[in-house]
Amino acid sequence: MSTRVFEKWYREDRLPHIFCTGCGNGTVMNCAIKAVDTMQWEIDDTIFISGIGCSSRAPGYITTDSLHTTHGRALTFATGVKMANPDLNVVVFTGDGDLSAIGGNHFIHACRRNIDMTVICMNNMIYGMTGGQGSPCTPVGKISTTTPYGATEPTFDLAGLAVAAGANHVARWTSYHTKELTKAIETGLSTEGLSFIEAMVQCPTAYGRRNKLRTVTDMVEWMRTHSILLQKARRMEAEGKSIPEDFFTVGEFIHRQRPAMGVKR
């Protein structure tokens, strides 16, 4: 007997996947599958939906039914699936370019309607698949192919957006924090209404290569040292200290019970 990771859930004949060396998407997939496995959902009752992008290749490696849809429209398809059959458990994999740039409007309205699904956003801070263009989540001063002198625009705080738009469970972790990420996804899956988990992932090929984080371990180390717990950030804010630049907060942003749509009663 060998103990592979969740043999039941992976399409073994499709592995190894096409993600680059050290891409964090594989880690987030592990965490999501572990959470789904802990929830004891059946393969036939679960559906993974994705848009276009690196992260959206993920459902192709999972044995459940899946939809690989048009760019930015993963949430609209997910809404349709949930409305057509509320018995299904819907999980959406999406990336930062997919969710925040082209699918931004769908995202805020999915949060507003509070549809019963789990959205896992793998935020690699760049458009990885198309060759490293700057996305709305590229931090200020970082270099991409469309921002060769450093990005100048402020970034999109996706977790904050989800809180403001009305999602029921919002959390942000990185692919280094696998235990916490798994727990956050698990809480998200068991929460009624839209739960949004933002997973910061490393992208050494498109992002790290241009920003002096060439090796995978460098980039993971950067995420580890530049993440700051939400409680600590709030405490620092209360004390009047400012959070240093290019730090991002991690933790559970909100957990509430707004009325949800698509729940069978």
Binding site: F19, T178, K179, T217
Partner: protein, 90 residues
Amino acid sequence: MKLKIDEQRCKGCNLCTTVCPYNIFQEGRKLNERGIIVPILDRPQRCTNCRLRHLYGRQLCGACQMICPDQAIYWVEEDPYSEESVVIEF
């Protein structure tokens, strides 16, 4: 139990070398037939999951398996007379 790296899946990102609390994974030196430098295992019998899984009856630690983006790390049951024996500490 015995720790294994699937050489058909590993892409040589060396993430496992950063997370293992015992530093069992070390950066490799040799290319394998796929042209990838797979990490080498330094005294894998120290692994917590290898030693204590049967005693506790559940998965222990497993940080390397969770962070491995290529799903390449796994454990196998050991034959009773294999060369690398596992020392069980109680």
